[in-house]
């Protein structure tokens, strides 16, 4: 519906003005920065990925073609990092969306306190990744003194021994993903809430008169109406999931045994711990290609081109 109206608008709008120099005056400052610090590095990264790139003074970089890419596919740590990155995305994206939807539905339904709750849920979103990552290291302390262990042992009695969260790969991934969900729920919830408030009450009332229950109304009215919003949030969250870096870097550093490594932590490590700039650049491009393909597929298949 929206896209249709947008397209119609664009066609009926008066033709845009053609001027000779004025546009460039407006374009130039931003475009210059964008070109030098965004587009040029983008090309440069690709060029570097084709070299055994040397950065230290007095050394020569060797052209190696696609060897860095081939190396990645033979590198078991790369596959581990890819698997972890995918796992993080597969868990945190649905986790955030489902919880955010529940929060948004609840907030939409309650008569008062919306702003207060929205503020509280949004707090983690505005807090720096560095701070919350360190905070979670503290909460997920391996001993009984860690808040999470203490809660699980002595309040809800689910475990009898403290879990060494950040020492073991599995629990460490759980801690990292918990942080990802906790920090992100508020963002999706605020967007969902705004979208929910845009659905007219009459639709729901009409459906209720027809005898539809809450579940049916959710799937027949809310979800279709929210579809563009849902796809938008999904696409952005998946991109965000593949870009996970700071929590892993600060919570486990990819350890133990690279088992919590993600693509970007591995890339950073290769580049700045071993000065393998060419390999790091190749890893970046592989990640970018993955993200591009997944986003493309999502948009192409999940979005219905035209609705009423």
């Amino acid at each position: 519906m929206r896209s249709l109206s947008l397209r119609a608008r664009a066609e009926s709008a008066p033709p845009k003005r053609r001027l000779f120099l004025t546009p460039y005056f407006f374009v130039l400052p931003a475009a210059l920065v964008f070109a030098v610090f965004m587009l040029y590095p983008l090309f440069e990264a690709f060029r570097m990925s084709l070299f055994d790139w040397k950065i230290t003074p007095g050394t020569t970089s060797l052209f190696v073609g696609f060897e860095n890419y081939a190396h990645a596919f033979r590198d078991e740590v790369f596959w581990m990092a890819l698997r972890n990155t995918a796992l993080y995305t597969l868990v945190t994206v649905p986790g955030q969306m489902i919880l955010a939807m529940l929060v948004a539905l609840a907030l939409d339904a309650v008569p008062r306190g919306k702003v207060l709750f929205r503020t509280l849920f949004y707090l983690p979103v505005v807090t720096s990744w560095v701070v919350v990552s360190l905070l979670f290291v503290y909460l997920f302390e391996s001993s009984e003194a860690g808040l999470v262990n203490y809660f699980l042992m002595h309040i809800v009695h689910i475990i009898s021994e403290p879990i060494p969260w950040l020492r073991e790969p599995g629990p460490a991934m759980v801690a990292i993903m918990t942080l990802g969900i906790w920090k992100g729920v508020g963002w999706s919830a605020v967007i969902f809430l705004a979208a929910l408030q845009g659905i007219s009450a009459e639709l729901h009332e009409a459906a209720m008169i027809d005898g539809a229950n809450g579940w049916q109304r959710f799937w027949r009215i809310t979800v279709p109406m929210l579809r563009p919003t849902l796809v938008f949030v999904l696409v952005l969250l998946v991109i965000g999931g593949f870009n996970v870096f700071i929590p892993v870097y600060l919570m486990t550093g990819g350890n133990p045994l690279h088992r919590t490594e993600t693509i970007l932590t591995y890339m950073y490590n290769q580049a700045f711990n071993f000065l393998e700039f060419g390999y790091g650049a190749a890893l970046s491009y592989i990640l970018a290609a993955i993200i591009f393909v997944i986003s493309f597929v999502q948009i192409k298949f999940l979005r219905q081109p035209v609705e009423v």
Partner: protein
């Protein structure tokens, strides 16, 4: 439909919301209480939210002996400069994209959309080499330039959507009166776009205030550290002194939370109205 039923469902909803809100807030409260605890009360069993003895020592240490006032200033300068410049240049670019036809427009716009999808971090390696060759490492100006580049695509995208929806009649009137596009931009477009600009400004500020990885890579001199690297380094130096680490962390998040809480109505409104008539 029945009153008691509605009352019951509301009670349940509130209970669920309160539970969720607690999950969101408890980590912050724990951080807050830890920051006021002395080192011997850190990681005690059972954990407590109320310090047995409240001490301000952690804040004193962070601010006095560890230079956090300076890091705060660095972060503020970088974030304000990035926000101000990004806002103006993104708005100019957006206006051009929304109003004019010019050679290269489509390519530019698609390039912007493309970079929106790509992780900024993938550029960190070439960015490092570029900034090094320009002699801008270890320098707040180098941070600002890169943050500008990282923020321009999204800001341009959002503002362009908003500008396209602005009525043209006023602009036509200015043109007829002999005004220039520059006048239109500053006198009409910018004032009319305050809500959208505010949203964009807040997002940009938050991004620059919190950015970690590039600052970590670009800044070597402790004098030019921003808060996120200062805090992460601080954690590395004082791994077990959590009170100190969290006192430093609160320094970084307090202003952000203050800005968010005081401006949030404005900014949520801005976000939704940003696309009015788009």
């Amino acid at each position: 439909m029945l009153r008691p039923q509605k009352f019951l469902s509301h009670t349940l909803l509130y209970a669920a919301l309160i539970f969720g809100a607690l999950v969101m807030v408890i980590p912050f409260l724990y951080m807050l209480s830890t920051a006021f605890k002395g080192q011997i009360y850190i990681l005690e069993v059972p954990p407590s939210f109320l310090p047995k003895e409240i001490t301000l020592q952690n804040f004193v240490d962070a601010w006095q002996s560890n230079n956090f006032a300076r890091y705060f200033g660095n972060s503020l300068m970088v974030a304000l400069a990035t926000t101000a410049v990004s806002l103006v240049v993104s708005a100019m670019l957006s206006y051009a994209l929304a109003r004019f036809d010019f050679f290269g427009k489509n390519i530019l716009f698609y390039a912007i959309l493309l970079t929106l999808m790509l992780p900024n971090l993938m550029l960190i390696i070439p960015e490092f080499v570029l900034v090094k060759n320009l002699g801008l490492r270890n320098n707040l100006f180098g941070l600002v330039l890169v943050y500008l580049a990282f923020s321009i695509p999204l800001n341009t995208f959002l503002l362009r959507g908003f500008f396209e929806g602005l009525p043209r009649e006023l602009e036509e009137a200015v043109l007829i009166d002999g005004g220039s596009y520059w006048t239109i931009f500053w006198r009409i477009v910018m004032p009319l776009s305050t809500p959208a600009l505010a949203t964009v400004a807040i997002f940009t500020f938050l991004f620059a205030w919190d950015e970690f990885t590039w600052a970590l890579t670009a800044i070597d001199d402790p004098l030019w550290r921003t808060l996120p690297i200062a805090i992460a380094t601080f954690h590395g130096e004082h791994a077990t002194q959590w009170g100190l680490v969290f006192a430093a962390s609160l320094t970084a998040i307090a202003p952000v939370i203050f800005v968010f809480v005081s401006l949030q109505r404005y900014f949520v409104k801005g976000l939704t109205q940003g696309a009015v008539r788009g």
